[in-house]
Assembly symmetry: C2
Homo-oligomer: 199 residues x 2
Amino acid sequence: MSITSKRTDPRVIRTRQLIGDAFIHLLQEIELEKITVNRIAQRATINRVTFYLHYRDIPDMMERMADKMINDINAILQNAPNQSLPIENDWSMLVKILEYIAENSNFYKVLLATKRIPVFNERLLKLMVDEITSRIEERGASSMSVPKDIVIWYVSSAFIGTIVSWLRNDMPYTPLFLAKQLSLLAPFTSKYDQPIDQE
Amino acid sequence: MSITSKRTDPRVIRTRQLIGDAFIHLLQEIELEKITVNRIAQRATINRVTFYLHYRDIPDMMERMADKMINDINAILQNAPNQSLPIENDWSMLVKILEYIAENSNFYKVLLATKRIPVFNERLLKLMVDEITSRIEERGASSMSVPKDIVIWYVSSAFIGTIVSWLRNDMPYTPLFLAKQLSLLAPFTSKYDQPIDQE
DNA sequence: TAATTATACAACAAAGTGTTTATTAGTTTC
DNA sequence: GAAACTAATAAACACTTTGTTGTATAATTA
């Protein structure tokens, strides 16, 4: 990221890893509201002051972790973005994201599917809105009867919500299969291009 | 609710109203994580101890407020549940919910659309899952190609997500119009009954 | 090796939590 | 209206959490 980044001090990496792991484990035991800097430091076997050297407070720490998540996913989306498939049938984006989440499911089951931790879902939703918006824009002026913004709201939250439920139910489908179903359900095919049932 | 409920002491109603209002107003000024019992009591002009007379802590208070929201919506859904329309085209449920939310938008814009307050969305999602599940069950064994649970995950979160975005954007469409669009986007019509594009 | 930087440790004031006890004020019942 | 009841207030309490400071120690890098 930073141009002149001398590679990070291994102690910093270690400490942040310890903090992140401690947080993830605590989330599986107690509710977010009960998690304190004290407990995190204790569980991470670091001094409490060290926490403040890295993060302003717990919400800030979560924000930074969400940054990392979005960066990782964005990197995956950048690598090999276009398939030979036409855009309206291209679920390669979905497959990649789902595979990445499945590979790190220990991590993301806690961060995305635990109730009451909206930060990560919010960020993922924003990324999805952007992706879907650009996909819809690229299709040019379609004659779809439903307003664009509603379609974007609808599909983005449907995708995120389905992923969360899939995680909460311990991923009963393969990433590829789920991606196919999502693309079947998404109103991106030509059948929606003619106005339907307007009244 | 309770059979032998002598009607509630007006002081209790007043106090809970003050607490709720104070909470809503604080949410518009500072982040949820920064809201304390101290501040709520101060803003509500009640003694801090009085808060603990009614709620265990802030998460408990939010849970009780969510109970109330779900009860209200359920009551609305119970009143005049079935239209003459066939189930797969019945958006009367959606219209009712949207109208109710629009009427109390000052309240629900904060509780549903403010980032980082997932309790209410979680509860509303659960209600929506139940509603949609029963709707899908009633349709009997359909030959829809997408697994039922995925459809339920998809549609429920799409509905809730769209409502949240609609609130965040200050309700640019009427409840009736939005309900129509949602029903257009939901894969409940017969077009989904034949397997499509299975491979 | 020397300079730099991260972490540990101890201590601090300020704020928040949750509870108890006694007192005041409002509501209901007869 | 008086008596009985219940809610809210007020002061105090031990305790935890927060965010910060100064100093010492250990690890990393140049």
